[in-house]
Amino acid sequence: MRFEGSTNYVATADLQLAVNAAITLQRPLLIKGEPGTGKTMLAEEVAAALGMPLLQWHIKSTTKAQHGLYEYDAVSRLRDSQLGEEKVANIANYIIKGVLWQAFESDQQTVVLIDEIDKADIEFPNDLLRELDRMEFFCYETRELIQAKHRPIIIITSNNEKELPDAFLRRCFFHYIAFPDRETMAQIVDVHFPNLQEQLIREALEVFFELRQINGLKKKPSTSELLDWLKLLSAEGVDPDSLSAKSKRTEIPPMTGALMKNEQDVGLLQRIVSMNRQRT
């Protein structure tokens, strides 16, 4: 089983190596990167490329490690016992299986995505250590040990908002998705917009990388924002020549609302543009 990117997703060589290493050595893969570089999409593409089902667990700040394993619905059981339902006798009827339980029980190998693990409480990754290591856990209510029939491929993404504990990091492989360079970016754009004018793409990429280099931006525009912007540009039928004039930094490019999401950044851009205009 090898992962080589797909028609929709351009993966650099070291990312492919990371995914293949995680698959071969059966360890979880931790992915970090700037927002908008395709971390969540990676799991979907890996699952599609390998033909395995994808189970997703999107972490919130209130998520506990137990939610991924199972939840015991005590209130329903109490209520049903009042009504005299028969299924009350077996506690297994009230266990709601979490993502990891489903993955362990599955008859074929699955890909599990644990999305944005750093959003949860600081102790959350530590609570999952044994499950990640041995791929098994014990359910107290039904007294059974759930073991993975086939070790799932676990992909964990993090936005780097918190430091992850060392014990957790030891058990994973780690890859940082660096922001794509020009050639990779051109490839990514090509994959998403195969019919777009070459000149438009070239000029837009120039403007984009120049914007990224401005010092003092609160949030630099990322890949997904570039793709949105390109869609807007092609929909509005913007002339590529006008864009090249803007890349000389004397005018604000059209529809920067897709690229800059912060009014301070927009203000900064306007100031720079007016400064440049005064200079020329």
Partner: protein
């Protein structure tokens, strides 16, 4: 094998452990690296480095280590490494065996090889039957043997350009721990005093059982509010003057504190907390809050945080009426501070000046004494320590 590489990384203070090293060997055995220097670089980075903050250090260490490989007789570094990896795969040791390796043998081997090379220089014309043996010969450069591979440092052959890690593209991700609002919030989160308050959302199992039993078995569900952080904090900021340099930092701290603590009261002062403090940046005396009023209003259960650079002329601290904004106060700043500290038992002072310069200013030392050493630098680790102290 590759132990030298592992030890080199450790000596450059990269947090690598034996488990990760064994994982790398496992990966090599599984044939994941495509026997190129770049592939090996990616693979070793994948296995050993767990944070992008260390990527730059790893790049430098990797470049240092592999820059020293020089091919013998014109063999390039790439080919030397290829041979190394090819032969290395056949000698993978399991974890137990690695511990059996004897350091003494390594030294003996080293001296043996030195002798060999000395002989070599004398007998240049003779062919060297010992070298060779399909790469399985334990002697010589690039040789493979159980105890480890020694890559010699002689300057022979060409140096081929090594790309990739030399480009230092991860330099900006290095751990200069830029203090931003989010990381401050995490540090402030250490200060916790949980209490239950708010909408009743959580199932209170114990009370439910209790009330259901009282009801002779008829279900009576009781809910309770979730735990929230109920700590009360009083922050005083030093503004104007020498603190202007640190304004950005203070702003971040302030917005993080406001978000994190529900009950936060903040005030401003100048240089030394004395007589009165103010809320808005309004120096009109009438809108000031005299300190005795403050102490009455905000009781002893408040935690006090003073943020300031503690830099002023010593007389401002010890003499009454000298301070810039309090010309008419009857008592000195030191007295007022002591009074405050008597009231608020749990107090810390956060100083944005770097700790290594604290000994240069006399007033900082004096204030530190008054605070009984509870002065901490305004960095992430200083914040954490301060919060720990406050939480006791």
């Amino acid at each position: 094998m590759l132990i030298d590489f592992f030890m080199h990384l450790k000596s450059r203070r990269l947090p690598v452990t034996t488990t990760e090293y064994l994982a790398l060997l496992e990966a090599l055995q599984a044939g994941l690296a495509d026997y190129s220097l770049d592939g090996f670089y990616s693979l070793s980075r994948l296995c050993m480095i767990k944070s992008e903050a260390h990527y730059d250090k790893f790049d430098v260490a990797f470049g240092e280590y592999f820059d020293n490989i020089h091919g013998k007789n014109g063999v390039s570094a790439e080919d030397a490494l290829k041979e190394l990896l090819n032969t290395a795969g056949s000698h993978i040791q399991s974890g137990e065996n690695l511990f059996d390796l004897d350091v003494v043998e390594q030294d003996a081997l080293r001296s043996e090889t030195r002798k060999e090379q000395n002989n070599d220089e004398q007998e240049e014309e003779k062919s060297a039957p010992m070298k060779g043996g399909a790469g399985n010969n334990p002697l010589g450069e690039g040789g493979v043997q159980k105890e480890g591979i020694r890559i010699d440092n002689q300057l022979l052959g060409n140096r081929s350009a090594i790309k990739g890690w030399d480009s230092r593209e991860f330099k900006t991700l290095d751990d200069e721990s830029e203090l931003n609002t989010r990381s401050i919030k995490i540090a402030l989160r250490r200060l916790r005093k949980f209490a239950r308050e708010g909408i009743h959302e959580e199932l209170d199992l114990d009370n439910t059982i209790d009330s259901t039993a009282r009801n002779a078995g008829w279900l009576d569900i009781k809910m309770r509010p979730e735990r929230r952080n109920k700590v009360k904090v009083l922050i005083m900021f030093d503004i104007r003057g020498s603190m202007d340099v640190h304004i950005k930092l203070c702003k971040e701290l302030f917005s993080a504190a406001k978000a994190e603590f529900n009950q936060l009261e903040w005030f401003y002062f100048h240089n030394i907390v004395c007589d009165s403090v103010w809320r808005q940046n309004d120096t009109h005396v009438a809108s000031h809050y005299p300190l005795p009023y403050l102490m009455n209003r905000y009781g002893k259960d408040y935690k006090l945080i003073i943020v300031g650079d503690a830099s002023m002329g010593p007389t401002e601290l010890t003499e009454p009426g000298v301070s810039y904004s309090h010309n008419h106060s009857q008592e000195s700043g030191a007295v007022w501070l002591t009074r405050l500290l008597d009231h608020y038992r749990q107090a810390v002072w956060l100083n944005p000046e770097p700790e290594r310069y604290w000994h240069l200013t006399q007033s900082i030392g004096m204030l530190r004494d008054i605070m009984q050493n509870r002065m901490y630098p305004l960095t992430l680790s200083g914040l954490e320590q301060a919060m720990k102290v406050l939480g006791r």
